[in-house]
Structure formats: structure tokens, C-alpha cells
């Protein structure tokens, strides 16, 4: 069902940039529903134009041309070392060695490091994160998000006392509260048990339903209806 987007160097930009290019290719229902909210849907959340990330002056994958509109869930696949994490870090603005262009709205980034201060409780971490963005934490909102992730009892427990899976769920609460349309997720299923994986798939689906977009690097298949698969193609080795 997934559509492989094998990007080549010279794709006509006008062609790919039709905001629902990818959505229409995919015959799932909710994406068509999303089409009805046309003005919002026309805006793209993320655009990549011949984007290729580099490490040590070497391209990691073939250049990507991709438009991600609201409601789309991109499953980012590729073998180890193919540049999935680097692509996500680039899109988050943490990696500046790349060729091409990208344009992105405000995004949540979840890397391998969770971004939680282990000395603080999940609730305090959420308050800090809200403070970073110059917002006040809505306590009820935050508790509701933690409750959804099954962490209500641990809301005031320092994070270093939580298990790896619980810490990961606390990090997910951060995405829910951030209210950013785009989520850039790097292996979010690590350390999660079966129920939490189901829950995370639900959360991703709901986020897309609500007009958000997800780019998720994973080795496990996403169980999200209407997902689009993007496989990074490693650059062919050139023998010198």
C-alpha cells in the first residue's frame, strides 16, 4: 500500500509540488477527507527539494524531492547507516551539512536521546519544555496527556526512577502538548511494550487525522492507515 518515493536528481519540481501528490496516490479514506479542508490542506507542512544529507562531505542518500502535506504519515525506511537519523536531524535544524533545500513548519523532534531531564519529574519536564517556547503549561492538559500514556501515577516521580519504556512515553507526552503540526520521530518504538506500540500507532493516526504530519524513521512497520513509505536509497559506492 505504501508508495515508494524514489527520488532522482531531476524531478520536475512543479510536478511533485502538488500538495496532494502523495495523498492522492494513496487510496485511503481519511486522506481524501482531509482534502475537503482545502485551504489548510493546500499548504505543505514540509517540502524537500533535491535534499541530500552529508557526513564528511559524502552524500548519504540519493537526493529527495518530497512534499508532505497535512494529514500525511511518512514511514522512513532504510538500512542502518542509510541516513535516516541524519535526515531527521537536518529537518529539525540540528545538522547543517546538506545539499538542496527544505522548508518546514515548526516541528517536534524526537531523537534517540529523549530530551528529558532525568532529575525532574515528567510534569516538571513538560513545564520546562513549555517554558522554552515561552508558553505556560496547562496543568490539566499535561496531566491528561500523561494519563493517556499511563503515567498519571508517575507524574511526580523523577524520570531516572522510571523504566526506559516509561521515559519514552513521558517523551511522547511532550509531542502531544507541543501543538506543532509536524512530528519528526527517530525510532519512537524503541523500548516500548506491545500495548504502548499500539497506543503510539493510535496517537500517530490521530495526529494525522487532526491535520498534522509525521515523518517517522523506524524498523518496525507503522500500523497507521494511509501511511506513505519513503525508502532512502544509499548513494552508489564509487570506487576511486
Amino acid at each position: 500500500m505504501g508508495v515508494g518515493v524514489a527520488a532522482s536528481d531531476r524531478v520536475e519540481w512543479g510536478f511533485t509540488s502538488s500538495a496532494y501528490g502523495l495523498a492522492v496516490l494513496d487510496q485511503s479514506q481519511h486522506l481524501h477527507q482531509a482534502d475537503d479542508k482545502s485551504p489548510r490542506h493546500l499548504e505543505s507542512v514540509l517540502r524537500m527539494l533535491a535534499l541530500s544529507c552529508q557526513r564528511d562531505q559524502r552524500d548519504l542518500f540519493e537526493p529527495l524531492n518530497l512534499v508532505v502535506g497535512p494529514g500525511e504519515c511518512i514511514e522512513l525506511l532504510g538500512p542502518n547507516g542509510s541516513g535516516k537519523s541524519t535526515l531527521l536531524r537536518t529537518l529539525a535544524g540540528l545538522h547543517s551539512q546538506y545539499r538542496g533545500e527544505y522548508h518546514s513548519v515548526a516541528a517536534v523532534y524526537q531523537g534517540h536521546r529523549l530530551g528529558l531531564d532525568e532529575l525532574l519529574s515528567p510534569l516538571e519536564n513538560l513545564a520546562w519544555f513549555a517554558g522554552l517556547q515561552d508558553q505556560r503549561l496547562d496543568r490539566d492538559h499535561a496531566l491528561a496527556a500523561l494519563a493517556r500514556l499511563g503515567l498519571l501515577a508517575e507524574a511526580h516521580t523523577a524520570c531516572y526512577r522510571l523504566s526506559a519504556g516509561q521515559q519514552r512515553r513521558a517523551a511522547i507526552a511532550r509531542w502531544l502538548l507541543a501543538e506543532h503540526p509536524l512530528w519528526l520521530l527517530d525510532e519512537p518504538f524503541n523500548a516500548l511494550d506491545v500495548q504502548s506500540r499500539v497506543l503510539l500507532n493510535e496517537i500517530l493516526y490521530e495526529h494525522c487525522q487532526a491535520g498534522g504530519a509525521v515523518v517517522c524513521a523506524t524498523h518496525l512497520q507503522l500500523q497507521v492507515d494511509g501511511k506513505v513509505t519513503l525508502e532512502l536509497e544509499p548513494v552508489a559506492e564509487v570506487l576511486v
Binding site: 529539525a92 535544524g93 540540528l94 545538522h95 547543517s96 516541528a107 523532534y109 531523537g111 534517540h112 536521546r113 529523549l114 530530551g115 528529558l116 531531564d117 532525568e118 532529575l119 525532574l120 516538571e124 513545564a127 520546562w128 519544555f129 513549555a130 517554558g131 522554552l132 517556547q133 515561552d134 505556560r136 503549561l137 523523577a158 507541543a178
Partner: protein, 220 residues
């Protein structure tokens, strides 16, 4: 902004060791000097005023390494770089809390240190004033080095090599202040210089630290 400050304060208070250990180091090393040269009195022309500032610099250096290390390892630094609405403030809060737990704390302990060094009790207040003006520059300039070396697993030595030269003006004018104060002379001129260093690094250092943090996070 309150939430940022609160978080820094809470996590600093929960790692009490990072606050008390440098203070213990300063106390012990001053004690060593007092033991080695029991006859030395911190009177006029004494080397002790210089030693005092040197030890303060070294103590500061000890605590600097930990300034961003935990945030780097936990990924909180990445989140800060991505999401901070006001980068200057986010960095400044961390530096401010570092100063509270190093510079200000050491200032409060000056009477104890003064007794160890055999200083006259009427010089305590001037010394505290000098430290109050001079130590912010140490935390501010030090944060640049801490941010640059946070990506190295053992950045301590490189941090010292990077930062000690930047600390020299503070050392020079700081010890000039203290030796003038001990001799009962006016120390307004070197104090003004110290104030100038602190206030100009207040304006510039957070930006440099922010840029250095970006480099460190990107290099990993």
C-alpha cells in the same frame, strides 16, 4: 522565563554534589596553603591575595565541565536548540544558576576563607564586593568553553586550556583589587575594570555559548 529558571534551580538543587564539591575543593586547597605556610599573613604585599583568585578560577573550572554535560547526554540540549523561543534567555538562565552555585556561594564563604588565610576582618566586605563583581565574568566566559567541549567525553583538560587565558584579565584586576583592599587603599579603578569585563561578557557570552552549543550538538 520563570519556568526556565525554576527548572535550572531544581535540577541544580537535586545534584547537590555539583555545588558542594567545588566549594569543598576551594576550602581544602586554601587549607593546604594555610598548612604549608602557617606564618603567612594576608597583609600588605602578601602572595595570598593572588593565590585566592587563582584558587577561585580553578574551582570555577571544576564546576564548568558539568554545566551542559547532563543536558547534552539526555538530549535536553537538542530540544533547547530546536525549541527555545529566546535562546539568549535560555542560556543565560543556565549561566545565572551556575553563578549562583559557584560565584555567589564562594562570595558568601569569604569570611571563612579569610580566617583561614589570616586576613583582617575589615577586609572581608571589600573582598566580597570584588568577588561579587568579578565572578559573573567567570561563569559567563566559562560557559563558552563548556559549550565548546561538551561533545568531548573528556573535555576537562581542553576546557582548562581554552578558558584559563580568558580568565586572565579577571585574575589580574581581581587580585589587584584584593591587594589594594588589604592594604587599605582605594580599589575603585581595578573594580571598574572587573565590572566592565562582567558586563561586556554578559552582553556577548550567551550568544557565543549558543553558537558553541550548536556546533557541539552538530558534531556528535
Amino acid at each position: 522565563m520563570n519556568q526556565l529558571l525554576q527548572r535550572e534551580l531544581t535540577s541544580t538543587l537535586r545534584t547537590r554534589g555539583s555545588v558542594t564539591n567545588p566549594l569543598g575543593f576551594l576550602l581544602l586547597s586554601l587549607l593546604l596553603f594555610a598548612l604549608v605556610d602557617p606564618g603567612a599573613q594576608g597583609g600588605q604585599g602578601s602572595y595570598l591575595s593572588g593565590i585566592f583568585w587563582v584558587l577561585i578560577l580553578l574551582t570555577n573550572l571544576l564546576s564548568l565541565d558539568a554545566m551542559f554535560r547532563r543536558d547534552f547526554d539526555s538530549g535536553a540540549l537538542e530540544q533547547m536548540l530546536i525549541s527555545a523561543h529566546m535562546p539568549f534567555v535560555a542560556v543565560l538562565m543556565r549561566i545565572f544558576v551556575h553563578w549562583l552555585s559557584s560565584g555567589l556561594l564562594m562570595t558568601l564563604f569569604v569570611p571563612l576563607f579569610g580566617l583561614l588565610l589570616g586576613l583582617e576582618s575589615e577586609t572581608f566586605l571589600p573582598i566580597m564586593l570584588v568577588m561579587l563583581v568579578g565572578t559573573p565574568a567567570l561563569s559567563l566566559l566559562g560557559s563558552i568553553g563548556a559549550a565548546l567541549t561538551v561533545g568531548f567525553s573528556r573535555g576537562g583538560t581542553i576546557l582548562a586550556l581554552l578558558i584559563l587565558p580568558l580568565f586572565l584579565p579577571v585574575l589580574i584586576f581581581g587580585s589587584a583589587c584584593i591587594s589594594a583592599a588589604v592594604s587599605g587603599l582605594s580599589f575603585a579603578a581595578p573594580l571598574t575594570w572587573l565590572g566592565l569585563f562582567s558586563s561586556s561578557s554578559l552582553l556577548l557570552a550567551p550568544w557565543a555559548t549558543w553558537a558553541a552549543l550548536k556546533i557541539s550538538v552538530e558534531m556528535q
